[in-house]
């Protein structure tokens, strides 16, 4: 457990990104609209993507920053798999989940994330953190549904497809 930034440091730091993005960029924290921006680059004939994409450009810049930080962490050898002790089956699966054999799981999972984020009008950043912090009922409902969906995936779908 020593290789992980503890939640009581990481969580408050994550929370501080909300006021920083408001003060330094006048934007409400969110990430999934970057996907809409990318979609609009080729699906522009669909009316939904015929919008002023410039307003979402900042999320592209934000996500580029995320990618750069991840590459840097990886290159510096700062990433080690979580040390989790548990009797549950996922611990054994953890070590080879990111292998390309599992591409279909990740493609379909990604699809559900992209579809859900747009339909729900936000993601973990926009709803869970920003929306709940502004005490939005819409975000509370969405967050509860995120968790129900996750529980279904982990306890029902993964065992069914024999990943676990």
């Amino acid at each position: 457990m020593e290789n992980v930034l503890p939640w009581y440091i990481g969580g408050p730091l994550l929370g501080l990104i909300v006021p920083l993005v408001l003060i330094l960029r006048e934007k409400q924290l969110g990430i999934s609209s970057s996907l809409k921006y990318v979609g609009s680059l080729f699906a522009f004939k669909v009316p939904f993507f015929n919008y002023d994409r410039k307003k979402d450009l900042w999320q592209i810049q934000f996500t580029l920053g995320i990618i750069i930080s991840a590459v840097l962490f990886n290159q510096l050898g700062l990433i080690s798999p979580p040390e989790i002790e548990s009797s549950k089956d996922y611990v054994e699966q953890m070590s080879h989940i990111y292998e390309l054999d599992n591409w279909l799981l990740f493609l379909i999972g990604g699809l559900l994330v992209g579809f859900g984020a747009r339909y729900a009008n936000g993601c973990t950043a926009g709803h869970c953190i920003m929306g709940n912090a502004q005490l939005s009922l819409s975000s509370l409902i969405t967050t509860i549904c995120f968790f129900i969906g996750g529980l279904v995936a982990v306890h029902i779908v993964l065992p069914l497809i024999e990943i676990l």
């Binding site: 990104i17 960029r25 991840a70 962490f73 989940i97 799981l105 999972g109 984020a117 729900a120 306890h155």
Partner: protein, 137 residues
């Protein structure tokens, strides 16, 4: 300049998510098995800190660095969207361990799998775009 500031903020955000292992499939499994407080603590303390910051911004009428008032737009309720979209998103999160931010961390760490999740997420967004007028709000 604005772009660089935003990129740096993204860099910091990504660094925290990476260092706290919030993008790791195992961490997300652990959360949905209620086996560790780590992810719950991370999310709850982030919400609390953000909420407190918003109260301070409002109370002291803090302005942006461009001298403008900070306006926070409410998030409208979308009965079907919040529920069905939320369930779909949550399932994707549980399967891949990646929500929207961690998709980009995976691109940086396990690039081939990361790109597959990213392509899936863009396709899912396009799928919503195509269906958006037929789906109940």
């Amino acid at each position: 300049m604005k772009g660089i500031i935003t990129g740096v903020l993204g860099f910091v955000f990504g660094a925290i998510l990476t260092a706290s292992q919030a993008f790791e499939w195992g961490r997300i499994q652990q959360m949905f098995h209620f086996e560790s407080f780590h992810m719950f603590g991370l999310i709850l303390s982030a919400i609390a800190t953000a909420a407190l910051s918003l109260v301070i911004i409002k109370k002291w009428k803090i302005k942006s660095i461009y001298g403008n008032d900070i306006i926070i737009h409410p998030k409208p309720i979308r009965k079907f969207g919040n529920i069905i979209g939320g369930l779909s998103y949550g399932m994707g999160w549980g399967l891949t361990g990646a929500c929207a931010g961690p998709v980009f961390i995976l691109i940086g760490v396990h690039w081939s799998i990361g790109l597959i999740v990213f392509v899936g997420a863009v396709l899912g967004t396009v799928l919503y775009g195509v269906l958006s007028e037929k789906l109940p709000k």
